[in-house]
């Protein structure tokens, strides 16, 4: 009797887990992915879309085409998880039974939590948001642009820095950089949380005349006055605010009573088990781990969950642990990028920004559909230290 495994969420984590489980367990398991839209979105592309460098159509694919043949796909919203009964309730009334559950539900945007944000700011955190921002930037003729953060945690910590540097490139290409005042509103006392990376980008920002305001966490926006207020008590006036919206866990998590105060799933940092539930795992943006909410995190977590579920099914001792491995590119403008590679034991040592790392990121973007979701995990470019978890 095959083990029934349900994977909630068809994003990068869910898709990879489902494919790896199916490849590993074959007939010993029946794997089902549940996703509300059945469409797989390559979110790292939004930033490029907003800057006019990517086509929205190429960022979305039918999830069915990314899953192995023997993985089932149910296109429905899961509304409730019942851990004791081992079921998941679906919006249209049905229910799925599971022996093992993988929560890969990601994060949702909650701009309504910050007064004035929805009407007073743009963002590149959704397809629609990125498209609207692209149009706004096309119309932009000069003025004050502020790029900031209205909630933590958020997906892709480097994104605001990348955006402001690449926006600087765009404004220069259009010949309107002189007429634009560009400011990064950082939640911290430096441009980026990783100090060594911050030391790389701050001189670049300074050379390009990009202002840095520190300890500025957006608290509210007055859309008509164009005023942005920080929770540290400061205000700025702007003509165009681009802000990372607040993020929360998905409603199914909250409504199942499984989430913390922000809807994130309490998860063990090594085993990736949902705390208190040994047949339930969580990966990717959905967890409460204070780790990067990035595709690479889900990508490196997936094999650990697969290994542990396989051990449970086969009755062997689970040995795989997630070692905290993360790998993120950081575009630094001017067709250069650096890379942030780290794990729980090895801090990042970002290389000097180069064209080669920028090429690596662009190539990764292009190859994504052929590699990551299908479980053909490419050996990501290394060139140095690496965290290998077993």
């Amino acid at each position: 009797m095959p083990a029934r495994i349900v994977v909630l969420g068809g994003g990068v984590g869910g898709t990879l887990v489902a494919n790896l489980l199916s490849a590993r367990l074959g007939r010993d398991a029946r794997v089902t992915v549940v996703d509300p839209t059945g469409m797989h979105v390559y979110q790292p592309g939004f930033l490029y879309l907003a800057l006019g460098q990517a086509n929205g159509r190429r960022l979305v694919r039918d999830e069915r085409t990314l899953l192995r043949r023997d993985v089932d796909l149910v296109v429905e919203e899961a509304i409730r998880i019942h851990p004791d009964a081992g079921t998941v309730q679906l919006r249209r009334g049905g229910s799925l039974a599971w022996d093992h559950l993988v929560i890969a539900t990601g994060a949702r945007l909650a701009p309504e939590r910050v007064p004035g944000l929805a009407s007073g700011a743009h963002d590149f955190y959704s397809l629609e948001g990125a498209q609207r921002l692209r149009e706004e930037l096309r119309r932009f003729r000069g003025g004050r642009i502020h790029v900031g953060v209205a909630g933590i945690p958020y997906k892709c910590p480097p994104a605001p820095v990348e955006f402001v540097l690449m926006l600087d490139d765009l404004l220069r290409r259009r010949g309107i950089r002189e007429r634009t005042e560009l400011t990064l509103l950082s939640p911290l006392d430096r441009a980026f949380t990783i100090e060594s990376a911050s030391r790389l980008v701050e001189p670049i920002m300074e050379r390009r005349g990009i202002r840095l305001m520190t300890f500025f966490n957006i608290e509210s926006v007055d859309p008509s006055a164009g005023v942005v207020t920080s929770l540290e008590g400061e205000k700025v006036e702007t003509d165009l605010l681009i802000a990372v919206p607040p993020h929360r866990g998905q409603r199914v998590i909250e409504e199942s009573g499984l989430g913390d105060a922000s809807g994130w799933v309490p998860t063990d940092r090594a085993t990736l088990e949902v705390e208190g539930h040994e047949r339930m795992y969580a990966i990717g943006d959905a967890t409460n781990l204070p780790i990067s909410k990035s595709g690479s995190t889900a990508h490196f977590e997936a094999p650990v969950v697969v290994s542990r579920i396989a051990s449970q099914i086969r009755g062997s001792a689970a040995r795989a642990n997630y070692g905290g491995r993360v790998m993120c590119f950081l575009e630094t403008g001017g067709r250069r990028a650096t890379v942030l590679r780290f794990d729980y034991h090895r801090p990042p040592v970002p290389p000097r920004p180069s064209f080669a790392w920028h090429a690596a990121k662009r190539i990764f973007n292009r190859l994504y559909w052929e590699t990551v979701p299908r479980g053909r995990v490419p050996e990501l470019p290394r060139g140095g230290e690496e965290g290998a978890e077993r």
Partner: protein, 80 residues
């Protein structure tokens, strides 16, 4: 010996440089009610300066800083 402070939310950010202990603390303070206490565990040497700096600027209370072999524990009360 002082009374133990009741912690409403505990964040173990040891070995997690990104988003990092300070960012995670800021996120938790944003979501908390005034008066609630958040603790953050960090192995990042920069936390010793940047956490107190933000707490001061944002007008909250740094209740305790405890150094242990496993990392440093910062306890913050949301004051406003």
């Amino acid at each position: 010996m002082g009374a133990t402070v009741e912690v409403h939310r505990s964040i173990d950010a040891r070995g997690m440089p990104c988003p990092g202990p300070l960012m995670s603390l800021i996120g938790a303070v944003r979501e908390a009610e005034v008066g609630q206490v958040i603790e953050v565990w960090s192995t990042d040497p920069g936390s010793a300066t940047d956490i107190p700096a933000w707490v001061r600027k944002a007008g909250h209370d740094l209740v305790e800083v405890e150094e242990t072999p496993e990392g440093t524990r910062f306890v913050v009360r949301k004051a406003r």
